[in-house]
């Protein structure tokens, strides 16, 4: 926790550079972060709805940034908040999405089970490394600032495969005390009439810090759901067509822009 939080030191933080967050940092008196969080969520959500325009993209980026600022600012007290009673009965959020892929089940399963493959189609994942058969290290991208869309700081966590049945199901969960607390399950079933494999992914995440987090997550949930859906769509294209066809990278005749 301590080392990853460095990446996330919010610019507005009054903490000095080398001072690590301390245990007495609570959510009292952090309206700035709550504002970041809610504002960021709203922006990201609004931006997502307009995601095809460049304005939409910047808004999503900006929103995601603010959101993560809010989140990261609270991270150091994550642990403390988990013993918060208001938080205890809250289950977190879950999104489920599925797609049918015209490939045999074992092929689809094997591709996914090779966790290193996931960043090939999950837009916000930077890398996944398998540490051993069950455990893996995940790194996700975080937008750096609004104007330059350049990469990005990262957030990392470790996850563990809790259950797996070959060609059927994989269940994973982030290790306790992860910066991003999440878990997921992906199921593989035969589609009817030899139409390939149905992949159903359920991803849950637990927003930190009680009510504000819950509200933020609620607002952001449609965007998150869309993200999961798009990732699955990309997964399908990667497996079926061998690549994810895009015009990303294509030069534009418009100055300072691509495609």
């Amino acid at each position: 926790m301590a080392n990853t939080s460095k990446t996330f030191t919010p610019p507005s933080s009054k903490r000095s550079e080398n001072q690590e967050p301390t245990e007495n940092f609570t959510n009292v008196g952090t309206p700035g972060r709550i504002f970041s969080l809610l504002g960021g969520t709203a922006l990201a959500y609004y931006g997502w709805k307009k995601k095809d325009s460049s304005l939409g993209k910047s808004l999503t980026t900006a929103g995601a940034y603010l959101l993560l600022r809010g989140v990261s600012g609270f991270c150091p007290v994550n642990k403390a908040l988990q013993i918060d009673t208001a938080h205890a009965d809250f289950e977190g959020f879950e999104v489920t999405s599925s797609v049918t892929i015209l490939k045999p089940r074992n092929e689809v399963y094997q591709f996914w089970r090779q966790l290193e493959n996931l960043p090939k189609f999950m837009e916000y994942l930077k890398s996944v490394k398998q540490i051993d058969d069950k455990r893996s290290h995940w790194v996700a991208k975080v937008p750096k600032n609004i104007i330059s869309k350049e990469t990005l700081s990262t957030v990392a966590w470790d996850a563990k495969i809790e259950q797996e049945e070959e060609n059927n199901r994989i269940v994973w969960r982030s290790e306790p005390n992860s910066e991003v607390e999440n878990s997921g399950e992906v199921r593989f079933t035969d589609a009817p009439a030899n139409r390939g494999t149905v992949v159903q992914a359920t991803i849950s995440y637990h927003p930190p810090f009680g009510v504000a987090g819950e509200l933020a997550a609620k607002l952001l949930n449609p965007a998150f759901k869309e993200l999961v859906k798009q990732d699955l769509r990309r997964f399908k294209r990667l497996l079926e067509a061998g690549e994810i066809p895009t015009i990303i990278g294509q030069p534009s005749g418009r100055k300072d822009e691509n495609y």
Binding site: E240, E243, P245, I247, G249, P251, S252, G253
Partner: protein, 383 residues
Amino acid sequence: MNYRGPFRIRADRDKPVPQIEHPYDAIVRVTRSLICGSDLHLYHGMVPDTRVGMTFGHEFTGVVEEVGSGVQKLKVGDRVLVPFNIACGTCPFCKQELYGNCHESNPEATAVGGFFGYAHIAGGYDGGQAEYVRVPFADVSPTVIPEGMDIEDAVLLTDVVPTGYQAAEMGGIRKGDTVVVFGAGPVGIMAARCAWLFGAGRVIVIDHLDYRLEFVKNYAYCEAYNFKEMDDPVVFLKKQTDWFGADVCIDAVGCDASGSALQTITGKKLLLQAGSATALHWAVNSVKKGGIVSVIGVYGPPFNMVPMGSIMNKGITLRTNQASVKRLLPKLIDHVMSGRLNPKGIITHRLPLEEISDAYHIFSAKRDNCIKPLLIPPRANLA
């Protein structure tokens, strides 16, 4: 070329050369490139999400300059014709040979597949009115130009010939049928010519540009009439067919049609519908009961007003699609090599790529008896 907004197109020497982005890409140096009626819909600002900065052009031939690591069939130096549809070759639609409806090549759409040089609703891929093009899925559609084929014939095989042919094919023409083609542009001309290959007994072309009517009469051995000289084209065609109606009608005009004030005002001025559907109305109303209307002219989102009541009550079959170029190529290459089809006969203008903005103007304004303009890039004739 660089699209700057409706009616504004310019040559752009500063646009960077495209790079290989995926293992199945190839980079092609363009040798010939055509402007199409479909480009005019873009030029006239009729197609949603046409973005400034784009390069149009979906009818081109070229030389392979570079291939991605996954490309197996094409080699550097191959002279290829590149069908306008971008197709992955493996999705269920490509497997049914519906290469114009590839499920993968157009990330955002559920209708049309990816095209070169069209609006972002067709994927937004930069096209061939340029010196270099990135060609995705290079092993699927691009076809090596057969030994002995004229490059001007080859470039017309990327769209116009298969499109005209498919228009006639979708008409389900039977021996002796009367076929009416609306539109004497390159597509209509080719459709009229191909109608004979399916056994048509009579071919009638309708347009309002006398020079095109004159041209099509000679090129496609058909009758040709000017709708401006008729009170009502539908009544005219009924009379021509003993009040039966034509067996098959082909709409080779699409959403930019003239001829009806109501359609033009609602479609092109007020934008209450996606362009004007005049030719489609005429086609539906002049085909016989139980006849087939083949729509090859392009219509776009969101919708057009269509006389559904006539379609229903006359029992009309509507058939339509983007041409599936790759499917038709083997047959059409044979028709061209054997001399049954002479595509390059429709090219009327040959201009350097630098003069692209003039070329668009001439073609759009139907100036100078223009039927089909060909663009030749400066590097076209490098060894």
